[in-house]
């Protein structure tokens, strides 16, 4: 009797918390997205599906831009961190822990401050551009801040460890005897990489892309700190509509579209890559 109830008693407090403040709120997000009204007269539930039409209609550009920026940034993190993860896993030797520590070092600095530091690096009269301009290597009018480049670079920077870590885990797990067997069978280095290592590391690529792309699409800190008026992402709009304009229904509709869009994307992606359980990596 007690044995049968024990797991439920252990799960109950945390489970209730997640039910109340994670699952049920998703229902309220959907409910708010179908309301009409304003902050002063109050909001009422009216099945107002037009909120969705309006939201997508008005902010299509920002949706597409977020997807584009996040995709480019994800591609950059993949290209930047695959060789890094490979190096640590296969050539790290005694210093593996040191390299991993360096990789995790950014997490010891607040996300907002890290992004802010990029604003200092990229600013018109900052260390890099200021110096180059002083040496007349760049025209005075040259700038990076407030351009898509700055926002994408910021996103790529901030999410790089989320790509590198699952890649490292997948590469480190590869059985070395399989690699040696390939060498023994006269595969050259390129063949060993393309036919053995790369296929075995695909689950890491899959997990890394998801862990980078999902938060990157919804991010608005990079666009706010490093971007300008022409680099607004969907996260900035959701934040603005919720917290500044108090257009709750439109903001909720936007969030809901974002969530559903990402869910569909993830499932389609999982289908295509035929990935194994993701849970291994998180």
């Amino acid at each position: 009797m007690g044995k049968r109830l024990a797991p439920y008693m252990l799960v109950f407090p945390g489970g209730a918390w997640l039910l109340l403040f994670f699952l049920i709120p998703l229902v309220f997000l959907a409910s708010v997205s179908l309301q009409t009204g304003n902050l002063f007269d109050g909001f009422r539930f009216t099945w107002h599906v037009r909120n969705y039409v309006d939201a997508i209609d008005r902010y299509r550009v920002q949706f597409l831009r977020s997807l584009l920026y996040a995709s480019i940034a994800t591609a950059i993190t993949l290209v930047a961190s695959y060789p890094l993860a490979y190096w640590i896993a296969f050539r790290g030797g005694r210093h593996k822990t040191t390299f991993l520590f360096l990789l995790l070092l950014p997490f010891f600095v607040s996300f907002v401050i890290r992004t802010l530091a990029w604003r200092f690096i990229l600013s018109d009269d900052g260390i890099v551009l200021g110096t180059l301009k002083d040496w007349h290597l760049l025209p005075q009018s040259f700038h990076v801040l407030a351009t898509p480049t700055a926002v994408i670079a910021g996103i790529a920077y901030n999410f790089l460890p989320f790509m590198a870590l699952p890649l490292y885990v997948a590469l480190d797990r590869i059985d070395r005897s399989v690699v040696e067997a390939a060498h023994d069978l006269y595969a050259n280095r390129l063949q060993v990489f393309l036919r053995v290592i790369l296929p075995l590391s695909i689950p890491g690529v899959f997990a890394g892309v998801l862990l980078t792309l999902i938060p990157a699409v919804g991010d608005y800190v990079n666009a706010f700190i490093l971007g300008g008026t022409k680099t607004t992402m969907i996260g900035n709009i959701i934040q603005l509509e919720y917290l500044t304009n108090f257009h709750y229904p439109v903001a909720a509709a936007l969030s809901f579209v974002l969530m559903i869009g990402l869910l569909i994307g993830v499932f389609a992606y999982a289908r295509v890559l035929g990935a194994r359980s993701l849970e291994e990596y998180v």
Binding site: G14, V32, I113, G130, L243
Partner: protein, 265 residues
């Protein structure tokens, strides 16, 4: 020839590439530390390098609202870490030890919670609070932080619980210890490193969280919120000083932890 170029590739190109990526990763940290010594105005740090000074370090707490924000962050992180670590550890114990109807659903919820975009978590929780007219403040921030930390603690503790030998517990019970005594005297000391790791992760995630907090904070400012608000107005040097001190503290803690682990092995 092929072998020669292969060697050069691994000896020279790859390490250089790795070094460049690592420098890219560390450069903002260097910038933060360097600018904490920039001798520019009290109101805001200028992008231009003015000169070296130590003067901001003794004045790190001279901005009362920034200090208050840091205090809020520490309170939120402390309280939410204790709650989330307790609840998350309990779930981990249930998932590792028992098979029960609903286990799959519980695992699914954990996975969804970790993989959902932060902005959706923040926006949906805010929708709940708006619907019931709950005023936003410290309490709602803590509720939110516990919500996003439980699953992380569960995953971390669970990983450490995997190799746990249950015969020790059975031995304790054979020797007449009740379930409560068995837990505190046998189980807890063994799984403590896992719980500590989960708790540290929760604390780190909480103190750094911006997005979910921003949605559910009302007028309250935590440290990341304060910094974000100051971006377009001007960042006072104290921000970089605090960042640098927190960074140093974290790094020293982590290195000590690593050394202690090495010594045990």
């Amino acid at each position: 020839m092929a072998v020669g170029s292969g060697r050069r590739w691994t000896r020279w190109v790859l390490p250089t590439y790795v070094a460049v990526v690592l420098i890219y990763l560390v450069s903002p940290i260097v910038v933060m530390i360097v600018y904490s010594f920039n001798n520019s105005g009290f109101k805001k740090v200028s992008f231009r390098w003015v000169g070296f000074t130590f003067k901001w370090y003794p004045r790190v707490f001279d901005k009362p609202d920034l200090t208050a924000a840091l205090k809020n962050s520490l309170v939120v992180a402390g309280v939410s870490t204790v709650i989330a670590t307790t609840l998350g550890t309990m779930i981990a114990l249930a998932l590792v030890r028992y098979r029960f109807p609903g286990k799959g659903a519980a695992e699914m919820v954990m996975f969804m919670n970790i993989s959902a975009p932060e902005i959706v978590l923040g926006a949906s929780l805010l929708s709940l609070f708006i619907t019931f007219g709950v005023p936003r403040g410290m309490v709602t921030i803590i509720i939110a932080h516990v919500m996003f930390n439980i699953a992380y603690v569960t995953v971390t503790v669970r990983a450490r619980l995997a190799g746990f030998n249950r015969s020790l517990e059975e031995a304790a019970q054979d020797l007449g210890a009740g379930p409560w005594t068995t837990f505190w005297r046998v189980t807890f000391p063994i799984i403590f490193p896992g719980i500590l790791a989960g708790g540290l992760l929760a604390f780190a995630l909480s103190i750094d969280d911006f997005v979910i907090t921003n949605f559910n904070a009302g007028q309250v400012k935590t440290f990341p919120l304060w910094v974000y608000g100051a971006v377009k107005v001007g960042i006072p040097p104290q921000v970089f000083v605090m960042g640098t001190l927190i960074f140093m503290g974290g790094v020293i803690l982590a290195i000590t932890n690593l050394m202690l682990q090495r010594r045990k092995v």
